[in-house]
Every structure is written in structure tokens, then in C-alpha cells.
Amino acid sequence: MTIALPARRERRLRFDMTKPVLYGFAAVLCVLIVLPLSWLFIYSLTDQKGALTFANFYRLFTESSFYDPLATTFILATTSALICCAVAAPMGWLVARTDLPFAGTVRALVTASFVTPPFLGAIAWELLAAPNSGLLNQIFRAVTGAEQDEHLFNIYTLPGLIFVISCYTFPYVFTLVANGLDRTPGELEDASSVLGASHWYTARRVTIPLVLPALLAGGLVAFLQAMTLFGSPAILALPAGFHTMTTKIWSLFQFPPKPELAAAASLPLLMLTVILLRAEHMILGRRGYSIVGGKYGAPRLIPLERWRWPAFSICIAVLTLPVFLPYAALLNAAFSPIATTFVTFQNATLHNVQFVLFELSSASLALKNTVILGTAAATIGTVIALVISYVTARQAVTGWRVLGFLATAPIAIPGIVLGVGLFLSYTRPPFVLYGTLWILMIAFVTIALPSAFQQLQAAMRTIHPELEDASRILGATRLRSLWQITAPLLRTGVIATWCFIFVGVMRELSAAIILFTSETKVLSVLIYDLNESGDLGAISVIGIGMLIITFSVVIAVNKIPGFGTVRFRT
């Protein structure tokens, strides 16, 4: 009889499921990401008969129909990123660090432009700034008495496209900068003030250098967003007679499909992203910014004094472009007899509303699919991101670095490229998922994973491991302490991530356009179809409905009892 026996039995009873569960997640992640990428590589190096060739790449760099879009995309992404930084960084600073009036309203409006799907924004800007029929140009001609063909704006141009893309990309930069500033402690600035520096000097020498990493990250995200968007270029660039890489790749799938060329065409985008991410890592990797802690005081707000109201006016003026004007144009089109005729009491019509509600037979299925996918992808994506961010933050299993890399890797894959990869992977055994909602869900989760992961990882880092250690010392397994200690502490981060993925599904078009079937159509694809046939009234009604749904879900989730209100973190 020994006393060791019962102890051993007890240990067996409390077998730690952590490792199997975590390795399980790792395996799922590998399949999700490695499978489609492998098929892309294989296809890019084969010809139509399946033989090894470099001809696809040769064509890519020798035919102007390929390298022109590549150059266009580069110009587009760089310019958009610069504009986003130039506009969003001062705004983020104003909101987070000054006594700007109605700062909360400004934040809410930025969220509104983030929630607006870029393709919907692009269509709204068509209504506003098409050279002849655009509402703004009509007003311009009415006011100045200009000739029939004169116009103030032409949205069907490269600058027009850059403008519209910036409108719906700048929230990424804004949120990163504003959140970065929110988290920066006031002590450093206090120290500077105590030593006699003015507010402005402190801002220039202390605050701005502190927020630089967030700005850099924001600029990078904006670049990648602009580079990988499909909807806006398809809506604005094609009428203007030029391609970007994404629309070019999409055109390669038209009958007869040329997946090998598309795969090759997508690799430069992939490479460029990887290089940029490495560069960011190198720049930031050397600097340490330990700015999170509970003991620091709230940041000191800089009084703007007589600049308060001008600054506020500028913010509102900027936000008119992605929010007020487009929403007004959509509302006008929804009740107008012809989309760009100004609604009056005489001509207002419910025809479009009636058409969408009672005649448009594909709308209800698309709505159902979108809601199912939004909810499921948000839930599954959040769980996966939570587990991975935990593993990497606590270095819980060997190979955690790989897991973190895999979760970040999809950021380098444009949605349309991922769509192609998934299509190649899941139309053949062992996983025949094409034609089901599953393939779309995989796409949406994969696309959302990098930001969800980074969001939760950032939140995870703010929680000191000592709380978990206490729980584990008292006998809980890793999984149990994750579930009972860490997750509740993270709940605002978790809710924000959930909302982020849900909104992402609403915004997503580029992978869906490759992966849908008539049974698995989503609202974004429906809107895209309607745009191609010029049914702008119906689009406006659906678009407004879509915005209402998204806002309601985001607000409702934030109102769940027991959870605090959260702001978007991107």
C-alpha cells in the first residue's frame, strides 16, 4: 500500500486535453491555409495539360495586358495608403488626444464608414460623381450654368478610384492610430510638460514618435486593402477602360477559364505583401513600446482652444465623403424614378422598395445565406483566433511561432486569390465543398483571421499571465483557465472581434464572387450582379437594408447583458 497510487489515479482523471486540442487547431489551420496556397503554386507552374512550365510568369512580365494592371495596382495602393495616413492620423490624434467636441460622434461616423461595404460606396459615388449624370455634377452645372458636357468630378478615372478606395480604407488607419494613442500613457507627456515643454512640443517630440508604429501598421493595412479590393475597381475602373490586378485575375476566370495564368498573376501580390510585412517587422522589431499597464494615468487632453470648432468642422467635412454624401445618394436613388433624378414630392416612388421586397426572387435566399454566414463565420473565426492568440501569447505548445505565422499569413492573400485557391482545393476529393455554404465560410474565416488574431493577441497581451498562473497552480488545466479566467477578461476584445468578422462578411465580395453558386449567393454578390445590369434603384434599397442589418447586429451584440460597450478595433 502506497500513498502514491490515488494521486496517480487522480492525475489520469484530470488528463490535460490542452495539447490535443491545440494541435488539432494547428492542423485545421494548416489545411485551411496551406491547401489553397499549394494549389495556387502548382497551377502557376503548370500549363493547361499539367506539364511544368514557366510560361505563365513569362507572359505576366512580357504582356502589357498583365504588367499595366500590375503598375496601376501599385500606384493605386501606394497613393491610397498615403492619403489614408495623411487624413486619418491627424483625425485619430484629434479624437484621442485633444478636447475635440463630439469626439464620440466622430468615432461613430468612422465606424459607419468602416461598416459600409466598399462596393456599395463605389456605387454610391457613381451616383454622385459620374461625369454627366452624377448628382454633384448636376448641382455644379445648375449653379454655374456650365455647358452640358462640363463636369466637376469624373469618378471613372484612376484618381476617382483612388479617392473612393481611400474613403473606405482610412478607418483602418484611424482606428489603429486612435487606439494606439488611447493606450499611450500620459506619464511620458507629463514628464515632458513638467520639464517645461509646450503642448505642441510634447506632441511633436513625444506623442507622435510613440504612435509611429501604429501609423506604419495602419499605412500597411491600407496599402494591402487597396491592393486587394475587387468591388470598387470592378465598378469604377472597367467603365473607365483599365484593369487592376484583381479585376484582371477575375477576367481570367471567364469562360474558358485560365486558372494557371490567374495563379501566376496572383503571386506578385502575394510576394509584395510578404516583403512589406517583413519590412514593417524589421522597422518596428528593434523598438520596444511598453505602453500598456494599469498603473498609468489617463492621457492628458490638449486644449485646442479657438481651434476646437474649426477642427471639428474639418472632421465632419472629411466624413461627409464616405458617409453623408453616399448615404444621401443611395436614399435618393431608392425613392427616385431614375436613379440620379433628384427626389421631389411629385416624383417620389416606392417602386424600388416594392420591387425588392415582393418581386426580386433571389433576395430572400441571399439575405438568409448572408446572415447565416455572417453569424457562423464570426463565431467560428473568433474561437479560432482566441485559441491561437492564447497559444502564441503564452507560448503554450511547441511550434507556436508557426501557428502565429499561419494565422497571419492570409493577410498576404488577396480575397480573389484565396477564392481561386479554395475553388481549386474544394472542387475535388477529399473535400468537395463547392456549392455549399461551407466553402464560403472557410473563405470568410480565413480572410478575417489575421485581423481577428492580431486584435485578440493585442488584447491578450494586456492581461498579465499571473492570473492564469494562479488558476493553474490551484489545479486547473490550461484549457480550463483559458475558458474561465482569460476569456472573460477578454470579453470586450472578443465581442469586438466577433463584430469585426461579421462586418467583414458583409463587406466581402472578392472571394465570394469566385465561390458562390445560385444556391449560395450572398448579398454582396447580388448587389454586384445588379450593378452590372444597371439596376441602381434596387441596389440602393438592398444596400440601405444591408446597412441597417449590420448596424443593428453590431449594436445588439454590444448590448448583450453583462458585456460592456466596445469600440471597433481593427
Binding site: 449624370s133 477576367s251 471567364q254 440620379t340 475553388f423 445560385s518 445590369s533
Partner: protein, 352 residues
């Protein structure tokens, strides 16, 4: 999408049953089918029809709703896209063994050639088609029926351009004064435009498009979008597109009008087919039958302002008779072989 030869082979094997079934019938004309109570009963049990079409959305939904009223208990879901996209969609789904669609209507006869070759079509010949349709408007096997005849004339916005000043021929469109004033649709999206482009290139040569592309033309996708752009006043001249929508717009008070170009007006007939893997085979046949019978066809004339192949339909004044228009010749075999070249040349000149 990505299909290796093996995939095609797999696809063909999957539908071998259909092909075997279809081939012997190719010699003999199937007996024409009336709408029988038994067919209606079976269709009601299935309860729904999925209809992929290239028709203008408003009309397609109108047609669907009329069918639902006539046969309560059967719902019609319309999936509208450009004919070339519909073609891509059907191919992508059938080669992945997804059979979601019952009836397909495209605006490009060459698609039928491909689908027949693949053995994807079910033979079905409605009674009224055999009785009242000219032989050129249906396949003797009953695999495909012409639903409507589409012409792609010019259109103008009469607020922006007076009829007497408007261009009356393709040649005039090259005049520098029209630069930046024209809009056209895309042959890789629209079947009407695929046929129109093929016909114009055959009559006037590809050099014509090379010059036209330098006129700063607004490029939209669908043939149904072009008439809406001139109605908005976004451009003054529609080079190609669905003429029936211009006529409908004019009749509803929009400032638009049609011009039939002097070199000839491009034409495309629009076929409908019942798919071999239709999930609701009876409802599919009932819909196909009804759409091509007098009721559906008269709606095509009255509501959609299109040309019906049904000899018993009554014309409604306001549309120029087909016989009075100088038409270009439609050539489905030519389009089937030449579609790739059309797309390649087009994107070479117009950059998209």
C-alpha cells in the same frame, strides 16, 4: 474555372445517361407536349423552378410572378446575369456536379451548341412550339427553343442630342465629335453584345473597333445597362445594347429613342433550355411550356417589347417590325468558334 481534361471527362461520364437518352432522339422529333393536368400536378409537388436568365431583371421577375399566379404553389426564383456569365455559371456548376438550375435562358445561340455537345440538355418540345413556331426557331430534338429575338440598335438621349443631329451609321460613330459621348456593353458579359460584336467585326472589320476604342467610350457590362445609362443622361449615344429597353423607356416617358444603323442592325436570338439535371423536372417543363406558349409570349411582346417567334402573338404598335429592319446575319457556329477571338481582340482594343 479550373477544369482539367479529366474533369471534363468526369463531367461527361456523369451525364452519359443524358447523352445516351438524347442521341437516339436526335433523329426523330419528340411528340409535342401540351400542358396536361398530370404535368401541373407533378410540378406543384416539386413546388419551385430555378430560372437562370439573361433577360432584363424586371421582365424576368414579372414573368416569374405571372407564372406563380397562373400555377399557385410553384415559386420561380430568377437568377439574372449576362448571357456569357450565365454560360460560365452553368458550366462551372455542371462540371462540379451541382445541379441547381431547371431552365436556362441565354442570349447567345452558340451556348446551345456547347451544351448539346456536353449532353446537358433535356429534350422537351411544347405543343404550341411545334404548331406555331417557324422551324428555324426551335431545335428539332426539342433541346432548345428560341424564346425571343433581340436586336441591338443605337439609342440616344433626346435631351442631349436631337434626332436629326444623331449618328445614323456605324461609320459616323468614328467622327471625333462623338468622343466621350458614347456608351457600350461588353461581349465577355453579354450574349447580345457577343453576337453584335461578332457580326459588326465580320461586316466592318476589326479595324472598326480599333478606331471606335479611341473614342473614349464608357464601357459597361450588360446590354440591359446601356439603355439605363442613356436614360440617366450619363452618355448621349448607346452604341449597342437591348433596344427593347430603349423602346420601353421611351413609352414610359424617358427622353430616349432608337436608331437602326444604316449598315444593318446586329441581331441575336435568345434560346431557352430545360437542363438534364433539373432538380424540378416537371416544374421546369411546365415553365418552359408556358413561357413559349401564347400567354408568356404575348407578355414578351406587350410588357418587354421584344420580338416573339410565336406566330399567334398580336403585335403592339410602337415597335418597328422585324421585317422592316435591315438586319445583320446571325451565325451561332461562327460565334461558337470565334468567341475567344472576339474577347481577345476586344480587350486588346478597349483595354478591358
Amino acid at each position: 474555372m479550373a477544369f482539367s481534361r479529366r474533369d471534363v471527362l468526369k463531367g461527361s461520364t456523369a451525364f452519359a445517361v443524358g447523352t445516351i437518352f438524347a442521341s437516339p432522339l436526335r433523329a426523330a422529333v419528340p411528340p409535342p407536349d401540351p400542358i396536361t393536368p398530370a404535368l401541373i400536378e407533378a410540378a406543384k409537388k416539386e413546388g419551385k423552378v430555378v430560372f437562370y436568365t439573361a433577360m432584363d431583371l424586371q421582365f424576368a421577375e414579372h414573368l416569374g410572378k405571372a407564372f406563380e399566379q397562373k400555377f399557385p404553389g410553384i415559386s420561380v426564383r430568377v437568377e439574372r446575369s449576362g448571357a456569357e456569365r450565365v454560360f460560365q455559371r452553368v458550366g462551372q456548376e455542371y462540371k462540379s456536379n451541382i445541379h441547381a438550375v431547371d431552365v436556362v435562358n441565354t442570349a447567345d445561340q452558340s451556348h446551345v451548341i456547347v451544351w448539346k455537345r456536353e449532353g446537358w440538355l433535356a429534350p422537351y418540345l411544347p405543343e404550341e412550339v411545334a404548331k406555331y413556331y417557324d422551324k428555324k426557331y426551335y431545335d428539332p430534338d426539342g433541346l432548345a427553343l428560341t424564346t425571343r429575338v433581340l436586336v441591338s440598335a443605337f439609342g440616344i438621349n433626346t435631351n442631349l442630342l436631337k434626332m436629326e443631329d444623331a449618328p445614323k451609321s456605324f461609320a459616323e460613330l468614328l467622327d471625333p465629335k462623338w468622343k466621350g459621348k458614347m456608351v457600350k456593353a461588353h461581349p465577355a458579359y453579354s450574349g447580345t453584345i457577343m453576337n453584335a460584336t461578332f457580326e459588326i467585326a465580320r461586316e466592318l472589320g476589326w479595324g472598326y473597333f480599333e478606331k471606335l476604342a479611341k473614342q473614349n467610350v464608357l464601357q459597361v457590362q450588360s446590354a440591359t445597362d446601356v439603355p439605363k445609362r442613356i436614360a440617366l443622361g450619363e452618355r448621349a449615344i448607346m452604341i449597342d445594347g437591348a433596344s427593347y429597353l430603349v423602346i420601353r423607356g421611351k413609352e414610359s416617358g424617358q427622353p430616349v429613342d432608337v436608331i437602326y444603323p444604316s449598315e444593318g442592325t446586329p441581331v441575336a436570338t435568345s434560346p431557352s433550355v430545360v437542363m438534364i439535371g433539373a432538380p424540378s423536372p416537371s416544374a421546369a417543363r411546365l415553365f418552359q411550356n408556358w413561357m413559349h406558349a401564347r400567354e408568356g409570349q404575348q407578355m414578351l411582346v406587350d410588357y418587354a417589347r421584344q420580338y416573339s417567334p410565336h406566330s399567334q402573338t398580336v403585335e403592339k404598335p410602337g415597335v418597328r417590325k422585324l421585317a422592316d429592319i435591315k438586319l445583320m446575319d446571325e451565325d451561332p457556329e461562327g460565334v461558337e468558334k470565334g468567341a475567344e477571338e472576339v474577347k481577345r481582340r476586344y480587350s486588346e482594343y478597349f483595354k478591358v
